[in-house]
Symmetry: C2
Subunit: 442 residues, 2 copies
């Protein structure tokens, strides 16, 4: 086949020495009722150890599909396979059984483990005051205590034990590290999992992989692609991934320590070419805003209409945010904008609730009502209904105000109701950053 | 290997006639910087057509890994492979090229497509007022117009065209449907994709698969497992998946139309055994609350401390919520609880901000300040800091109040800051449901 022009070849490091594969089980994940958090979390922990993940396979609760996924990953030259989920007491939880068969190991009851899990379940039900049917729960506990012979048991954090299951004697292939599905259990079990000899041996002591992130706000991805092509010869040994999200362009680069000079060169090129839009060489806009507020001892309050509390939720999602976040008002109804944010009724009538003037008045109102140093106001039409020819769905006005002035922005965001709301919140964070840390308008 | 007791075998339907496999590409997805929304969305669309998805494989932007994933899925007896992502103008976007090679088809420039994409990019840049470097963007546009010979082009919704790529003449294997990564583009392209003859032929006209969902609040998963085991003989032909999320137990069942009587039997068994905790045979708690508010013409307002706006964001995330959602106050600081929600200073001093009495006062305050029929108050300690021996991290008090009375709940939620916040919001929704629709306390 005719080769593409060489300048569109991927910029990337060679494959690192040790690789792992991940299987995430659960029909609820496959069908999207629950978003997978384990695959990315495990991939990140492995990356920190210099282990590279090539594939995350999501499978439903069907033994054949799980077996196929294990067979596939075992054939991709991985040193370890990790699974999450399918260790509960119900009939659709079958990971331990399938992994045991895959590795050629019979399962048998671990009586000590059965007793320990039984105690955990009993305490759990007593604490919640739920009715306990001893007969019924005993069957579930027994199922959770069936262990492949020769496997290492990782003590339960919730009610499920983890397992490290090596191939049976005489077989080859990677060991399988079997972890529970609830993210809090999986994460709490991780230190014990990698301390287990068979898992640790598989991962060895591979080389470090570094990762750097540079963030732009207001540059097109195609523009950046041209810059990267232009400087390609200087960027040897870098794996660069770009991602456009809520209007921010994130450039993540992974590299072995020997390629540090190439990464420094990339950083310098981007700093020069994108001086107006490069706002971070690492921290997120959330990190920058939180850091600036904490450093100045400033406080913030929010006034939201179309984003309906998402900005306040994003700010308060951060541990320690009570240091600088006083609160916010979600003023969905016009009456609430008047009563709780002192937006003048005349302004609402004259300009309309979705206007730059009302966004500014909401920011002022939040600042005054909460006694905060900084106020942010957002008003807009998230859709899908409510648009007019003059003010289409996606019209959003934002304003951030502080002791040193104000920053405002008006835009029409394309996409769904959720997209309009999320993008608006990110723009509000960028306005807060500009207000607190300065920088050119883009 | 010794068989597990037969009663823990999975309850599931046999494999349906037609299957498909999905590949989601993107290092940003693999490493969790972006959550995948396309895999679940596509799986759901396929399910509606009676097509079953066995695996969703997430791969980074590496050609070898993508090729391996395609090879794996082609070997799992699928009629169609779908890919999302990797169609952009940058060097790490290489899906079209890899799929072309996988199917044995050379790529060549589609001059008409190049012109159409060029026009789109130009209008896009003009609208945003971004600086355009014609030379640079032309290379990206040209890359996006390289098409495998014999493939069907699906017109761009954003800047990327989709593709249906059958295997080259003389080769066997499923066609590959290549779709863009941004969910809004992928979703908008879907009707054209399945209308394309080669994709439609692959999917055929398979039988319908039905899906039913039953929701419990306050039942342990192991309890439910015992019930399912007990009634197993009556439930032939059902694939039942249970999932515990934020304290709600979701039971999703998939079945062919012929198994409808078995599903009706399951529904009856659960309705009888879990009369106290079964709150829905379909709609989510959000659906129920929104429906009840709309039907009564009632309005609601929120007062949040530890959840920081998440409850308001969840309520307003729904299209049409402005009909019944007046707004809310995020009262993170105690001063805000007094000033904006009229919580008495004496009560805060005497009971502490995290107390059932303050939750009730916040609910009353929100109701009064917004003039709403229903008020909800949440106060608690989300952590990781701020806990005391008497009020550990995770302590949350909630109250919902309306014209007919109030519902309150106090609990200690285990887990991370995010888990405490999310669980609290779900409990608040359940209290709203109980207040509006009635039902036993569990």
């Amino acid at each position: 086949m005719p080769a593409l022009p060489p300048d569109v070849d991927p910029l990337r490091v060679g494959r690192v020495a040790v690789r792992a594969g991940i299987v995430v089980t659960g029909t609820e994940v496959l069908t999207g009722r629950v978003a997978d958090r384990n695959g990315p979390w495990l991939a990140e922990r492995l990356r920190e150890r210099g282990v590279d993940v090539g594939h995350v396979v999501v499978v439903g609760d069907r033994p054949d599909d799980l077996r196929d996924a294990l067979t596939f990953l075992a054939g991709t030259d991985v040193a370890l396979i990790l699974t999450s989920g399918g260790l509960g007491p119900t009939a659709d939880d079958l990971t331990a059984e399938v992994v045991a068969a895959f590795q050629g190991r019979p399962v048998s009851l671990d009586a000590g483990l059965e007793k320990r899990i039984g105690g955990i379940v009993e305490r759990l039900m007593a604490r919640r005051g739920w009715r306990a049917d001893r007969q019924a729960t005993a069957a579930g506990v027994r199922k959770q205590a069936m262990v492949p012979e020769g496997a290492t048991v990782l003590e339960p954090v919730g009610t499920a034990a983890g397992l490290v299951v090596p191939p049976a004697d005489g077989r080859t292939g990677p060991p399988v590290l079997v972890l529970p599905g609830p993210p809090s259990e999986l994460q709490a079990m991780w230190p014990a999992a990698i301390a287990a000899p068979s898992a640790g041996r598989a991962l060895g002591n591979p080389g470090e992989l570094r990762q750097g992130t540079i963030r732009l706000w207001g540059t097109l991805e195609s523009q950046l692609a041209a810059t990267l092509r232009e400087h390609e010869p200087e960027l040897d040994g870098l794996e660069i991934t770009t991602c456009l999200r809520d209007g921010e362009l994130e450039i993540v680069t992974r590299f072995a320590p020997g390629a540090q000079p190439a990464y420094d060169r990339l950083s310098a090129v981007l700093a020069e070419d994108y001086a107006d839009t490069l706002f971070s060489s690492g921290p997120t806009v959330d990190d920058l805003v939180a850091g600036a507020l904490a450093e100045r001892g400033s406080t913030v309050a929010t006034a939201e209409s179309c984003t309906g509390g998402l900005l306040a939720a994003r700010l308060t999602g951060r541990a320690g945010s009570s240091q600088w976040m006083l609160g916010g008002v979600v003023a969905y109804a016009n009456s609430a904008k008047e009563a709780l944010l002192d937006v003048p009724a005349g302004l609402l009538a004259e300009r309309g609730a979705v206007s730059p003037e009302v966004a500014a008045a909401m920011a002022d109102g939040a600042r005054a009502r909460f006694g905060a140093d900084v106020g942010v106001g957002i008003t807009g039409i998230a859709g899908p209904d409510g648009g007019t020819p003059g003010k289409p769905v996606g019209t959003v006005h934002l304003c951030a105000v502080g002791p040193d002035g104000r920053r405002a922005r008006s835009l029409v965001v394309p996409g769904s109701r959720a997209a309009v709301r999320e993008r608006s919140v990110t723009v509000a964070m960028q306005l807060l950053r500009l207000l607190l840390l300065g920088g050119p308008e883009v």
